[in-house]
Amino acid sequence: MQATPRRIAIVGATSSIAEHCARRWAEAAPSEFVLVARDAARTERIAADLRVRGATRTSVIVADFTRPASIADIVRRAAADGPLDLVLIAHGNLPDQPACERDLDACESALVVNGTSPALFAEAFAAGMFDRGAGTLVVIGSVAGDRGRRSNYVYGAAKGLVTRYVQGLQHRAAGTAVRIVLVKPGPTDTPMTAHLRQQGAKLASVESVAACIVDGAAKGRPVVYAPAKWALIMMVIRHLPRVVFDRMNI
């Protein structure tokens, strides 16, 4: 007998990390996908790939990610055909830090896209899971959210907001069957970081990061560093005394 496919929603479905997670889910077990993104044609190409890999059904929602009313509408539509077993919130962009320092509009936009927007999506999706008493919500934060650094604190602050928000949801989920997972990828080789690679940065492969996320989601782990070595690195960075930290150009 065919098992009922699980229902998975992905916000930011064209992100490289999200796409590779989706492939793994599509290949592992019968799954239906709701893909939320801004570019319909690109998202449809990803949906076709997932169907070849085994996805039983895909649907695409194209919408604005920043207005609360739009977010509420997206979440309602994503769950319209049945409750969601797994939700991945993966959208965001890597802002140009100096540009954000010069231009408060750019700064606000970066904070909204990477901080407020994922938090609102998390709130809205979690509400449905708490009502049902089931589901796994995976939110992509960043190692950048662990400590503010001069090279990247606008992004870091937004991801720090996500970290605290998800922590609160986890506290709320304690004692229920709802699982809330916060993923903190290190620098990953994706189109978002292409300029870092050109500068010679060591980046983790998107496949390895996706493998960590899929594994963390399956186990319902509260915090997943991807790759795992970043747990140790960030523990050191978080605890560096200020006199040492202030001398570092990171």
């Binding site: 490289s16 190409r45 076709a48 070849v52 189109p191």
Partner: protein
């Protein structure tokens, strides 16, 4: 700038690299770049076919989506950056397999087309290009050309084996081959000389899908080795072997392949092959891709890297030419245990510049020892030229233009199909720009 090398690791050079991740965005990306560039997938070709030092690169590994699969007919449409291993892992559990595969599954579909790669079954199935039904070529003038063996066949013949110089391959439709499962029946025989090799090869090609042999490059012109043949088995349901766990974690300060290690390895390999001769059942992964089991194995040649020298010579002159090359190599003491001897079938090449032709192919790795190694290649070049053979561009980093022109008589037919904004170190070396 991104520092990039190819599989031979002869050097690494800065490139202005731009990643292509959306196949619909390729025309715009091509139009936006002023200078010339070349597509780079997984960097599994050995020499400079995929390099363009101080120039542009199109990184295609992110074009890795499947587009459509027909499980009844075994037809797969996918983007050009899909790796062959992704196809095998997808297709084999569904009863299909790539009909032609090279010795690594990390090559991309685009690279397999641009180099018109072959495998152990050339005598049965021809080259990779023989199983491409359609490909979509994006040109720098913004045009998009869909071509295949029955559609704009001239563009298809120029692009298959065209070294990436006719445009960017965005996607392809491949015809897969049905299989019962992942297993092959394999038989192994030692041979004492080249006549023994040819007798085994000729006696096997009728009934055996795959044939290949390891040749002892130190045994001189006699050419002893181990011959292996395989065909798909109806065996199913065995547990799959674990693979891919090991890697070469660092670059040793000097090549681990040297005259002493080579002598020891070849003796041990030949004699253990003699002892193990017989029948066995092999999973397709170790059978097709033995080296993929050791990630980054190319690092074993040390910081100076290595060359591969792969030639094909016609059957009429082949016995003597292969003997002469092996004698020359043994005399030099150069070479590596990675030495392959195989016959090619009679199939008409698909591409204007496809490497395989009826005859026998010899492929050997050589640690880069500078002028000594290059001088040996010149002596081998003379043998190949004399025999009416040619070298494989996918493996080459140094052949003289005269040898390329002698080996590939259809260059003039190919040139009109070149894209003016695609160029590589190899195109400058062998075609003049």
């Amino acid at each position: 700038m991104l520092t990039v090398s190819s599989w031979g690791r002869l050097g690494s050079w800065p490139h202005d690299a731009v990643a292509l991740t959306d196949r619909e965005a390729i025309p715009g990306a091509l139009a936006a770049r002023p200078g010339s560039a070349i597509a780079y997938g997984m960097g599994r070709s050995y020499g400079d076919v995929c390099l363009n030092p101080d120039g542009g690169l199109w990184l295609t590994a992110g074009l890795d989506r499947f587009i459509d699969f027909d499980p009844e007919l075994g037809r797969l449409r996918c983007e050009a950056g899909v790796q062959l291993g992704q196809i095998q892992r997808f297709a084999v559990p569904r009863g299909w397999i790539l009909p032609v595969t090279p010795g690594t599954w990390m090559a991309t579909v685009g690279g397999a087309i641009a180099n018109d790669v072959h495998g152990k079954n050339h005598h049965a199935r021809g080259t990779f290009g023989d199983h491409v039904r359609r490909l979509r070529l994006v040109r720098s003038d913004g045009s998009v050309i869909d071509c295949g063996p029955d559609l704009r066949a001239d563009w298809f013949a120029a692009t298959v084996g065209g070294m990436g110089l006719t445009g960017i391959v965005a996607e392809a439709e491949l015809q897969l081959m049905p299989v019962a499962g992942p297993w092959l029946d394999v038989e192994t025989f030692p041979y004492d000389d080249l006549d023994g090799f040819f007798a085994l090869a000729d006696g096997s090609e009728g009934d055996w899908e795959y044939t290949v042999s390891w040749v002892d490059c130190l045994a001189g012109g006699r050419g002893r080795g181990i011959f292996m043949r395989g065909r798909h088995s109806t065996e199913r349901g065995r547990p799959e072997p674990a693979m891919g766990a090991r890697s070469m974690p660092f670059v040793p300060p000097m090549s681990l392949v040297n005259p002493l290690s080579l002598r020891l390895f070849n003796l041990a390999y030949y004699h253990s092959g003699r002892l193990k001769a017989g029948r066995s059942l092999a999973h397709y992964r170790p059978f097709f891709y033995p080296l993929d089991n050791l990630a980054d194995w190319n690092r074993m040649y040390g910081p100076r890297g290595f060359y591969q020298y792969q030639s094909v010579v016609p059957r009429g002159t082949g016995r003597d030419a292969v003997g002469a090359m092996l004698a020359e190599i043994a005399r030099s003491g150069e070479g590596s245990f990675l030495a392959v001897l195989k016959t090619f079938g009679e199939a008409t090449p698909v591409g204007l510049l496809s490497f395989p032709m009826p005859g026998v192919t010899l492929a050997l790795d050589f640690p880069n020892r500078g002028p000594r190694t290059l001088a040996l290649f010149e002596r081998l070049d003379a043998i190949v030229l004399e025999a009416g053979g040619r070298l494989y561009p996918a493996k080459d980093a140094r052949m003289p233009r005269s040898l390329f022109e002698a080996g590939y008589p259809r260059i003039a037919e190919f040139l009109p199909y070149r894209d003016p904004k695609l160029g590589s170190a190899m195109s400058r070396r062998l075609l003049g720009d």
